[in-house]
Symmetry: C2
Subunit: 219 residues, 2 copies
């Protein structure tokens, strides 16, 4: 687990905490490392979670499949990001979604109660972590609202424009790479892949954008 301390240092959760302090906090927070192969489930819908988790290697999707096999990708977790923040409250109930490794991944689990209950003075940076967690959850909240903004658009084209222009803004460039292939993007935006592919090509023919694989450019 110690090899991931430099990664933890760069996460929102441990922002401003020195590496040796993180090292000291690992046991205080009862940190546990788990590893997953590509395609493995980290957590399944219906399970109960009493941990805050941080992805330290690989990539995860928060997703849900319905009876008919339609997949909805609720969120994508990149290295350094957290998940499980929606289940901090004691009465928060079972997981609503599956969490799946889309690459070989490593996840560190932290005991929720140990985080939010500030411990003895041994952890001098604990209160900073609590505040970081505040900000991180708050920001995740905002991310979800943004995603709602995308998929509440009525047409596939509008959803694409909404999503792509936010990515351009976020990456601060008209040229950018998206972290999804076509099927994943379709699942993320809740549309049919072929219809979306069709629409993307129409938009390209109309001169709105260019793309090749995951590389997009808005014009």
């Amino acid at each position: 687990m110690k090899k991931y301390i430099p990664i933890l240092k760069r996460t929102k959760l441990f922002a401003g905490v020195a590496e040796d302090e993180i090292d000291a906090m690992l046991s205080c927070l009862d940190a546990r490392l788990h590893e997953y192969k590509k395609g493995e489930y980290v957590l399944r819908e219906g399970e109960h979670l009493n941990h805050i988790t941080v992805l330290v290697s690989g990539e995860l999707h928060i997703q849900r499949d319905d009876y008919w096999g339609n997949r909805a990708i609720v969120n994508r977790i990149a290295v350094g990001e957290m998940f499980g923040e929606a289940y901090i409250a004691p009465e928060s109930g079972a997981l609503l979604n599956d969490v799946v490794a889309v690459e070989d991944s490593a996840v560190i689990f932290f005991d929720v109660r140990r985080i939010i209950t500030v411990c003895s003075s041994a952890c001098r940076f604990h209160s900073m972590v609590v505040q970081n967690l505040f900000f991180a959850i708050s920001q995740k909240n905002k991310t979800l609202v943004q995603k709602l903004g995308h998929i509440s658009k009525r047409t596939t084209r509008e959803k694409l424009i909404s999503y792509l222009s936010e990515e351009a803004k976020r990456q601060n460039s008209a040229s950018f790479t998206i972290p999804f292939n076509r099927q994943q993007l379709a699942d993320f935006l809740s549309v049919d892949r072929s219809a979306m592919s069709n629409e993307l090509c129409k938009m390209r023919d109309e001169g709105l954008l260019e793309f090749e694989k995951n590389q997009f450019k808005l014009l």
Copy 2:
């Protein structure tokens, strides 16, 4: 403002805090009361917010209108609920949505920094409020994921079933009242009102449910 203390006592934010303690905390948290008439904007997209707010009277919608006049209702705030938790972080940027009073409403604003920075021992219950805020944000997060689950369904019928069965579950009865009229429900689920109305009637004719105004019964 004092007349709303009994209401505050019943909110998630002040759960477990006695009324006289809340009274004492109001000034500590720099609480300010604002009132709005039905239809007035509490906040507008693009503004900056440095407060956590609690609705103590009336009803609010978090919504957004696009260029073509399509309205998306992101969330509904009932008495005792908070909003603005997505903008706690210092770098969280401008509001993504409008906040509108759909009834005559009263809102109390609390200074964010004063909440998350635990003050002197005068506020003995401050740390409890911090923990309450944690749980409340976390739960809001979960609510947003649930809403994503509804509108990521492909057809109007599936969206309706998803929403209505959750309401039934939440209200713990096959008969329940929803807090939206038809237009608002359509805006909430991101579908066309007339198409939705049509679909509801088809479902009724097929014996899936009964309804009258806002009163629904799943069969």
